[in-house]
């Protein structure tokens, strides 16, 4: 499932910088760059994906049908998609706020904060999973604050969303932050000189120009969350039909040497997330075009 974020990044890149007319080739090196791009994409992305498709194509029909219609698998896929969506939607406003703070305010220790944002990228996911679980368990620092209120943060769907939020947040921050930094201050000055309130300026001027990057970041966070295993598996509880995520289903097929079923579930997840990414991309392109027309 690690292929999903890769596919997502490959998909999202053109949308961050809207397509412009190709500049004249003033720098040489087009041929080698294209060769490297082609080779790397084929060897690292297309060949593994092809192997996955091949594994599914070789599987008998009843295996494919059984793997796809199994109630536990459906529950797990539903949970993965749902929890990933919730985590991505929560990550969006939080990420924008963090990106705004980092881009616009010259706080003491800003560079440190800036570095901390990347920690979920750098940390092995199992480490963050165990740390989050220890914190959120009823005996942990954070969990102990909520336990008296009857709220449990670990070993349920809340825990899953917390873990996915943790791994997804930097995607939003890192996609939105450079756009905020590039936002010309003149636009805001013009808006306020024309009598717009700060809220109006933000909602009608700033937010629309940030929207494509927010959508891109949120989509990346979502795609990453769908395939996330290490950080979730410790905090989830892993109870079949309730807190079992799709990657764990794939793993349990593999542990029974049932490669075919594992490949079927993996491919289904991949197709679903790729379809979703394409849809979001198309919607986003329309958003960019409309923004370009409006400007």
């Amino acid at each position: 499932m690690t292929t999903t974020p890769v596919a997502a990044e490959a998909e999202a890149t053109p949308t961050v910088a809207p397509r412009a007319a190709r500049p004249p080739r003033s720098i040489p090196g087009f041929a080698p760059s294209l060769a490297i791009t082609g080779t790397v994409l084929v060897v690292l992305v297309l060949v593994p994906l092809g192997a996955l498709v091949l594994a599914v194509a070789r599987a008998p029909w009843d295996t494919i049908v059984r793997a796809l219609t199994d109630a536990r698998t459906l529950a797990a896929v539903g949970l993965s998609v749902g929890a990933s969506a919730v985590a991505a939607l929560v990550a969006a406003p939080l990420g924008v706020a963090i990106a705004w703070t980092l881009a616009r305010y010259d706080l003491p220790g800003r560079r440190l904060l800036d570095a901390i944002v990347d920690v979920p990228f750098a940390l092995p996911t199992a480490v963050s999973g165990i740390a989050l679980t220890a914190l959120c368990a009823p005996s942990g620092w954070i969990g102990a604050l909520f336990a008296p209120l009857g709220i449990e943060l670990a070993f349920n769907r809340v825990g899953i969303a917390i873990a996915l939020l943790f791994t997804g947040l930097p995607f939003v921050v890192r996609t939105v932050q450079p756009v905020i930094e590039d936002l010309p201050a003149e636009i805001e000055e013009a808006a306020s000189s024309l009598g717009a309130s700060r809220a109006q300026t933000f909602l009608r001027v700033i937010l629309p120009s940030l929207m494509p990057s927010i959508v891109a970041g949120t989509t990346l966070a979502f795609a990453r969350a769908l395939g996330e295993y290490g950080s979730v598996v410790f905090i989830a509880g892993n109870m079949p039909m309730r807190t079992e995520i799709a990657p764990l289903r794939i793993l349990s097929h593999l542990e029974s040497y049932d490669y075919a079923s594992a490949a079927v579930v993996a491919l289904a997840m991949l197709v679903a997330s790729a379809g979703l990414l394409f849809a979001v991309n198309a919607a986003q392109r329309r958003l960019v075009d409309r923004g370009a027309q409006g400007a």
Partner: protein, 351 residues
């Protein structure tokens, strides 16, 4: 010219590194023998201690020839899959015979299907069993398997779908009910109801034994942890402040983690002789002592007698006699849609 040479240099350096890494066991110029031993997770400490004793025994008998044993640890099923997919192991030691059988079944002529008969004790140098870990003072009064499914007791155990040790836990509970009855029932009905009642009391189904230890000891979830005997002792030693006690049930399942040399790989590396000697060394007094100190039950009668007080007597039933072997146990209990999955299907009281 220099600019063009650089990528060439880099790529050839990469190739050399890769080919150096991919060599499994073999002897290099100085006559040092290398063995790659692929094992499951909990044996790290065990083989770290045993391997040097083999190296010195081999050097003594073979004119000072050096043997280097490289270890690879991971989940038992994952390690077996890696060997099937081409990890160049000379020797494997895994949690269950089922995983070694998978190498014989799925790997192309990697391993003789009769591997278990090649070494004593079904190729299993030490054995173990499943015991209980409870909170200090045993507040729930848990003494035996049927106490696990009484009252509000919460049980911590990993998922048999992803953990080898967890399959022993599951089969231990099922086998106990099969032999003693459960809730006025007998036979498979008793076993089925026992495991259903047991897994309904599991609030967190970790993917492996270490995860369950963490859930129980560090995160403070549950009243009783079901785990390997050696893992239980390790947990008590590692978390002296957690206030934990080991409870030995009246009987439990015999867990026999097996070891085997991988025929096709040792042929290619010309390491069959040293691989076999290495595995036979596991039955030596020296290795058996190390295993006993690390709470694996020794096969050697003298060592067993010396460490008798660390291994309380209990009746141990085998997967063969109670479940008709691992293949059948897997098909009936752990395969897709088998009994363990049905425990959690809606409408069967599983949720």
């Amino acid at each position: 010219m220099r600019a063009r040479a650089l990528p060439l240099l880099l790529s050839s350096a990469l190739l050399i590194t890769l080919s150096a890494c991919s060599g499994g066991g073999a002897s290099d110029g100085q006559g040092t023998l290398t063995l790659l031993h692929v094992s499951n997770d909990p044996t790290r400490e065990l083989y770290a201690e045993i391997n040097p004793t083999f190296a010195s025994a081999w050097a003594r008998d073979h004119g000072g020839q050096r043997v280097e044993i490289r270890m690879s640890h991971g989940g038992s099923g994952r390690q077996a899959r890696a060997v099937i997919d081409g990890l160049d192991a000379d020797v494997v030691s895994l949690a269950l015979p089922f995983d070694v059988d998978a190498i014989a079944r799925e790997g192309q002529h990697l391993l003789d299907p009769q591997w278990a008969a090649r070494l004593p004790d079904h190729s299993s140098p030490f054995y173990s069993t499943i015991v209980f870990v409870v909170r200090r003072g045993n507040p729930r009064g848990i003494r035996d398997w049927n106490d696990l499914v009484r009252g509000e007791t919460q049980v911590i155990a990993p998922s048999p779908k992803t953990s080898g040790g967890a399959r022993y836990v599951y089969l231990g509970a099922y086998g106990y009910a099969l032999r003693h009855g459960y809730d006025g029932r007998t036979g498979d009905e008793a076993g089925t109801e026992m495991v259903r009642a047991l897994y309904q009391r599991v609030p967190v189904l970790d993917s492996g034994a270490r995860g369950s230890s963490t859930t129980f000891a560090r995160n403070g979830i549950g009243d009783v942890l079901l785990t390997w005997e050696n893992e239980a002792h390790l947990l008590l030693a590692e978390s002296p402040d957690a206030g934990l006690e080991i409870v030995i049930p009246s009987e439990s399942i015999l867990a026999e983690p097996p070891a085997a040399w991988i025929d096709r790989n040792v042929e290619r590396h010309h390491t069959r002789e040293v691989a076999e000697a290495y595995l036979r060394h596991l039955w030596s007094t020296e290795a058996q002592e190390i295993a006993a100190r690390q709470h694996y039950r020794p096969r050697d009668a003298d060592v067993a007698a010396r460490y008798a007080q660390s291994f309380p007597t209990m009746t141990l039933f085998t997967v063969e006699e109670v479940f008709g072997g691992w293949e059948r146990a897997h098909a009936t209990h752990f395969a897709e849609g088998a009994l363990f999955d049905r425990i959690y299907q809606p409408g069967q009281g599983g949720t």
